[in-house]
Point group: C2
Chain length 343, copies 2
């Protein structure tokens, strides 16, 4: 027996070690919902909902009120029949972080029941992945200092937040590149540029000989033509993040040949759409990275299991838990600085 | 421990109850390869390779000689890490039935090891599916007789083989429809028509008020423009079968908007590509059916588990084992005429 007998939502607030500043947003804390699913075998499955109002239009106080609706939808269902439950939860498409946290809790319960980690359930493709760390927006001096610190701690991929000031952004990426030779860079504008600004940004840095591995979401989410224009007019690989929430978004991006990379975040798509996006992008020969919102180690555990199991990602931007104060580490994985490994 | 210690290929020949005639081919027997994988835990996983020279260019006597190459590729690998093994086996892309049978045997071994049926591993979406049965080419009289027999035995979906004689084909579908009111029809031309013949076929039958649920592979595999022309110039949903072997074929068909339906056969794509095709076609809002080559119950077991687990298929054409003489039923499922159920 593995029927769901209870679903519980618990509010959890985590403070950032320091305020996290990206284009159009500064966060001092992250309030998430811990999801606990219990089966009639007494097994518990855990997930985490980490909403983003900026990306998904989700507010945690509203999501918290969905506990009853989720219960009504899935109590009595069998976690072994997880795709059946995924389909029911797909109807929560307008609150994708709820879909993600609850779908994962179902997988986690199934995994506990058959005593097989989720990463094996999904295929066990990798035993180890490496995460980047992110340099939020700040003064040039502080950003360079932060990047050097991250690099010295063994993180070889540095994600840099830009998008509010083109000249300063070019300057700061140039300075960081000078001070962290050998690192790889993901530059994320979080929709801050116009297409022409994005091309200017890419051309100036390219002429200076700076290699950027991924140029993330230069323009607003709805500007698919803009993304395509940038893709075909600059040398750096262009990634969709805010433009790529559901599998249907990604299908359209593939069809329009708009980007080189997709940034999957479980909180945008849930588990079901993430698995579809992986298969589609691999077939279409696009590259993948996996990112996060404000997840604690409980939520990062979800993305880590997907990343290890499917082995689908070139870059892993799974560092939110490293930026938050937590009482206890709750991942079912091992981490040593950048390296994340199976247990 | 769940490392592969041995892989064995065993030739098995099954006779058809009566010769099976489709466009360009008549079969009296089916020679398959039984795949047995053994792990160091003493667990065995079973699969079946059922090649098609017509569709895949595969000859069983050549495939049989791949036993050593498969051994060299996967012995020592862990069945828990099945996606790793799938990736290694993807290199056998030019012999997709080998990919299918060996990949499934790996899944089967993993499933035995964690004591969880493959259909639950894949999501457990359906508890029951219904298969069609196929009326091979013969005289009009015999085909109608066969269709009536099938229908009276409780098979509500009848697949009719056409493609060698347009006038006779129109006649036979019309006659069968008259004698089996309430049935659904899949009509399969196995590449036998020109695009204009296909449209003529569809228009005449449509004017006679006959409903065809799927019009399979009217034209040669390479004629993607032809498929698209038929799709947009006839009312019946058009399916790609011979045109849709790998996930890359299907990606192209989706991008070209060439068809309404994809017929997945594990022997064309292996398990890895089948799972990708399922996610892609669902996202693109195409319909799916699942078919077979000359599999015995051991091979049909593979498709049944995929179909039950993913629940992705509108039609199931999994009847080859019903046409072959076997000593013992080897499916890990129950069957009562058309109905196929979980254990």
């Amino acid at each position: 027996m593995s029927k769901i007998v209870n679903v519980e939502f618990k509010l959890r607030t985590y403070e950032y070690y320091k305020p996290f500043h990206i284009t159009g947003s500064i966060s001092e804390s992250s309030t998430n919902i811990e999801v606990v699913i219990e089966t009639d075998a007494g097994v518990k499955g855990y997930g985490e909902i980490s909403p983003s109002f900026r990306v998904n239009g989700e507010k945690v106080e509203a999501l918290y009120k969905l506990e009853e609706a989720v219960k009504e939808s899935i109590i009595g269902m069998d976690v072994k029949e997880y795709r059946k439950i995924f389909e029911v939860l797909d109807r929560f498409f307008s609150t994708p972080s709820v879909k993600a946290g609850v779908q994962y809790a179902v997988l986690d319960a199934f995994s506990e029941e058959i005593e097989t980690p989720v990463y094996y359930l999904l295929g066990g493709l990798k035993e180890e992945i490496e995460t980047d760390r992110t340099v939020g927006m700040d003064t040039i001096e502080n950003m360079v200092k932060e990047a050097k610190k991250i690099f010295s701690e063994g993180f070889n991929v540095i994600k840099i937040k830009v998008g509010e000031n083109l000249r300063k952004d070019i300057e700061v990426v140039g300075e960081i590149a000078k001070e962290t030779k050998g690192a790889k860079y993901i530059v994320d504008a979080n929709m801050g540029y116009t297409p022409k600004q994005a091309i200017e940004f890419a051309r100036v840095l390219y002429r200076r000989g700076i290699d950027i591995s991924v140029f993330e979401q230069p323009v607003v989410a709805s500007d698919i033509e803009g993304l395509k224009y940038i893709r075909f007019n600059s040398t750096y690989p262009v990634a969709a993040d805010e433009s790529a929430r559901s599998k249907y978004d990604v299908y359209r991006l593939i069809k329009e040949e708009a980007v080189d990379f997709i940034n999957i975040k479980l909180m945008k798509s849930g588990i079901s759409d993430a698995l579809a996006i992986i298969e589609m992008t691999k077939t279409a020969n696009l590259q993948l990275m996996i990112g996060c919102m404000g997840e604690s180690s409980l939520g990062i555990n979800q993305s880590v299991n997907i990343a290890l199991g499917t082995g689908a990602f070139v870059f892993h931007d799974l560092d939110s838990h490293l930026m938050l104060k937590e009482n206890a580490f709750r991942g079912k994985f091992k981490q040593e600085n950048a390296k994340i490994k199976i247990l």
